[in-house]
């Protein structure tokens, strides 16, 4: 633990820390462009120069200098001030003065730091260098003349995303950052490079010239595009969400977000259901709330207890609880959230949860992926696997081969392998201190029992130095899944049980992936926000709110209970889902016992206490014993990463990503 002095302040930093980190520990701000906490150290921008004694009598790059005992660091000396001014002047030599038309303006590191550390005027009178534009795909807009070659994007592609498409070609003054042959950057995490870029060279293409950062109102929310529960910030202007930025949460998403999280927001104002519809003579016609409720009441009067609710993938726990309360009021318990027909055992939630936790997965030293295309099902869990590999983990996988961005030993596409593990795998698990098994949705149907049967091999008892380790993990793809399971949205036989019960009245809460042909005999009420499959088949449509337009509780695949706030109001006559259900219940003569959102939350928390408390819910490890023979190949449920739910299917950006990145359509712009 080196002890050193920064501007006279004594600090002690961990072994291996850099001088820059020591300065931060002392509360000193060190300007930087290339240095980033989550990327390797490049040391090429030279902005973080400080004076260090003992050492050569010249400023040193603090980001790449290890902190050592008895160092005396000055960040406020004339030498440091002159060094910063000099570096800034060099950086600005070739940087265009186009801040007024630059999307980074207002949140630009170069802008901020030149105000804080620059000289204030330029002495440069020669011509500036210009760089030709590079094409980087549908997500990243480039203005490469602005690039200061910090290489953060290159390092992100190589280290975090694992898609080595970006590089720095040529050298010296001709050096330019580009993708290989100017093709699209084919990573599901590509949007992060625009956030990483300290200048306006890489910006977000879908929202180019749409807003200025200071116009936006910020609201904290939780991403619903997958089950990871990425912490996000919704930046809105007026009634429209303009962008999504990840928030830092070391336990969940670190500071990344994948492209679906970031760029689906253009769909929040497209294809919206903004008024009720009622089917008349086989056609959906606009109606008033009154007419829509009357239509439902007419059916409900004769339905008795034959009422069901199917929850969609994007729902918050409150909506599901309100719907459950309504269905219960009819005396029914036909609740299901697994729309596509999955029917795994849910008697113990720990058997379907990500027990290791996402952050702890980094420590795993042997990982077995069973039927999961982690890169598409949970990209931010995939980055953790990459980090585990960097620490020396070995990864095995059962399932059809896909590119997961890291080296995997593919054992074959047969779940039967779980019945008797291959020798090398069994040995690797035995020798591992922290082995992890990740069971994907593709294997839940045929491999759940077999995976649970070998779960014991992935457990380690607590020792004096280490806490107990549970390496059994299940990956879900729906943000609503864990909350749904906690609330009892699961039938023994899955949705087939609901079909078998042929309910007279069925509520589809944002459920768009259901096979509606099986519900021909039911009166289908769709409560949702986008005109997708569910709305097409509905008899009555009640316009609801998206996740951005309602506060809510979400539970991610680990069982982490997180709360989101409302960012904007739902368009037109659309209402928050729970208020729709509350109003409808009154109409149906079965008034729900809550009049406000807080009362609803309190009622939910009293029924499922875990949902009332933010943070990781505890699921006791008591796996059920299921049929333990597995067999058959795996089919990954996510066929198209960019079009997995009603919101992103309505998004022009996501449609283009799908067409260009997955289906190879050519969108490259002609050279001007």
């Amino acid at each position: 633990m080196p002890k050193l002095k920064v501007d006279g302040i004594e600090v002690e930093v961990p072994q291996g820390a850099t001088v820059l980190q020591a300065c931060e520990a002392a509360g000193k701000e060190i300007p930087r462009f290339c240095y980033h906490e989550r990327l390797s150290i490049a040391g090429n921008c030279r902005m973080c120069l400080v004076e260090v004694k003992p050492g050569p009598p010249k400023p040193q790059a603090s980001c790449a200098l290890p902190a050592a005992d008895n160092q005396e660091v000055r960040t406020d000396s004339p030498m440091v001030k002159a060094a910063r001014e000099g570096v800034m002047e060099f950086l600005l030599i070739n940087h265009p003065l186009d801040c007024p038309i630059c999307d980074q303006g207002g949140e630009c590191d170069l802008q901020d730091q030149s105000v804080a550390y620059g000289r204030g005027q330029s002495r440069y009178e020669e011509n500036k260098r210009a760089v030709t534009e590079k094409y980087m795909g549908p997500i990243i807009k480039t203005v490469m003349t602005r690039c200061i070659q910090c290489t953060r994007c290159v390092r992100f592609g190589e280290e975090v995303a694992g898609v080595e498409d970006i590089g720095a070609i040529y050298r010296g003054e001709n050096m330019q950052i580009t993708t290989y042959l100017e093709k699209a950057f084919k990573s599901e995490l590509s949007g992060n490079v625009a956030d990483l870029c300290p200048v306006g060279a890489l910006t977000h293409k879908p929202v180019a010239f749409e807003y200025r950062p200071w116009e936006l109102k910020r609201n904290l929310s939780i991403d619903v595009m997958d089950a990871v529960g990425t912490n996000i910030r919704l930046d809105s202007r007026g009634r429209q969400v303009m962008r999504v930025l990840p928030r830092i949460n070391e336990d969940v998403n670190e500071e990344w977000a994948h492209d679906k999280t970031r760029y689906h927001v253009d769909a929040l104002v497209r294809r919206r259901l903004d008024r009720p519809f009622v089917r008349k003579d086989g056609k959906l016609v606009p109606a008033t709330w009154e007419e829509a409720f009357d239509a439902i009441a007419g059916v409900a009067a004769n339905a008795g207890s034959s009422v069901a609710a199917i929850a969609g993938d994007l729902l918050d726990a409150e909506t599901m609880y309100a719907a459950k309360a309504l269905v219960k009021a009819f005396g029914s318990d036909l609740l299901e959230g697994r729309q596509t027909g999955m029917a795994y055992d849910t008697s113990s939630l720990s058997a379907v949860a990500f027990n290791t936790t996402i952050a702890a997965l980094e420590e795993a030293d042997a990982i077995l992926l069973v039927g999961t295309n982690l890169r598409w099902e949970a990209p931010l869990v995939n980055t953790r696997v990459r980090k585990a590999i960097k620490r020396g983990a070995k990864v095995f996988a059962i399932g059809p081969q896909v590119d997961l961005t890291y080296k995997v030993e593919w054992l074959g596409d047969d779940l039967g392998l779980l019945n008797s593990l291959p020798e090398n795998l069994a040995q690797a698990i035995d020798n591992a201190k922290k082995p992890a098994l990740i069971l994907g949705p593709g294997a839940l149907k045929n491999g759940h029992g077999a995976a649970l049967a070998i779960a014991g091999a992935f457990q380690r008892a607590a020792t004096e130095t280490e806490a107990a380790w549970n390496g059994f993990n299940v990956v879900h793809t729906a943000a609503a899944r864990m909350a749904g399971l906690m609330l009892g949205y699961a039938q023994k036989g899955g949705i087939a049980d609901i079909v078998a019960a042929s309910p007279k009245l069925a509520f589809f809460l944002g459920a768009d992936e259901v096979d509606f042909s099986k519900f021909a005999g039911s009166f289908k009420v769709y409560i949702g926000h986008h005109g997708d499959q569910g709305a097409h088949h509905a008899d009555v449509i009640l316009p609801g709110a998206t996740y951005a337009e309602k506060p809510g509780t979400y539970v991610n695949l680990e069982g982490r209970v997180q709360r989101a706030d409302r960012a904007v109001f739902a368009p037109g006559e659309a209402r928050e889902d729970w208020t729709i259900l509350r109003a409808l219940s009154e109409k149906l003569g079965r008034t729900l016992p809550f009049d406000s959102f807080d009362e609803l939350r309190a009622a939910m928390a009293s029924e499922v206490p875990a949902l009332g408390q933010e943070g990781l819910a505890e699921f006791a490890w008591n796996p059920p014993s299921l049929a333990s023979q597995a067999s058959g190949p795996v089919t990954y449920p996510v066929a198209d990463f960019y079009l997995t739910n009603a919101i992103c299917r309505a998004s022009p950006t996501m449609q283009r990503c799908s067409a260009e990145l997955l289906h190879g359509e050519d969108f490259a712009e002609a050279a001007e």
Binding site: R129, A130, V131, T132, E164, D165, I166, G167, A168, I169, Y170, R171, N174, Q176, T179, Y180, L181
Partner: protein, 222 residues
């Protein structure tokens, strides 16, 4: 980006070079190069492999060789590296040609010592034979490039043609070399100064003169 080369049309290049693979002799050399580095460190072979590939392209086209995109990709595949990483290396080093060159790649040093000793005359000589900076002559024989210091300052000015240096040049000597090459001869490499062998001082040594004929211990004289 005026100096950055314009890569040739990709479709044409792919049609011509898409099937590039080592010749048996070069495959043997590649194996030998690979064996120099420990397993898992095959990335270290990037530069020797690119050089080998450029020479093979040169042999196939009877020129000094260049690196078409499919050849760079071939090298990347051989080394199990992402294309962009090899492309970065190929674009970084000026010895790798990203556009086709002629049979003789004339690289004239124009850095200060050579310039003071008359590299302008060398340039003028090249120009008088129709060589143009950055271009290949119509007959495909010569490509002229101006380069930075090649480390031959004591025998400046100099040119590097293919793998050989020609030093102590002036206008006429440059012409003689170019003409000889055009005729298919192999002119003397190294210094062109009569009586000079390498870079020893002209007119005999001016220091350590006692060392010329025999070993001499200077230590007592310090």
């Amino acid at each position: 980006m005026a100096d950055a080369p314009q890569l040739p049309d990709e479709a044409e290049v792919r049609a011509r070079w898409g099937a590039f693979a080592w010749t048996p002799a070069n495959a043997e050399k590649a194996r030998e190069i690979m064996a120099r580095y420990p397993a898992g460190r095959q990335m270290s072979c990037t530069i020797p492999f690119l050089d080998l590939a450029q020479r093979q392209v040169g042999a196939e086209t009877n020129t000094q060789g260049w690196l078409p995109v499919p050849v760079i990709e071939f090298v990347a595949r051989e080394l199990d590296m992402p294309y962009i990483r090899v492309f970065e290396v190929a674009t970084f080093y000026t010895m790798f040609n990203l556009v086709p060159v002629g049979r003789y790649h004339v690289q004239v040093c124009g850095t200060t010592p050579c310039m003071l000793r008359g590299s302008d005359d060398v340039m003028a000589a090249c120009k008088s034979r129709g060589l143009k900076k950055g271009h290949t002559t119509a007959d495909g024989l010569f490509t002229l490039t101006e380069v930075e210091c090649m480390g031959n300052c004591s025998s400046a000015p100099m040119v590097q043609i293919n793998d050989d240096n020609f030093e102590d040049l002036d206008y006429d000597r440059t012409l003689a070399i170019l003409d000889a090459l055009a005729k298919g001869e192999s002119p003397k490499t190294g210094t062109q100064e009569p009586g000079r062998h390498t870079v020893e001082p002209l007119g005999g040594p001016t220091t350590l003169t006692a060392m010329v004929s025999e070993n001499h211990d200077y230590r007592g004289e310090w």
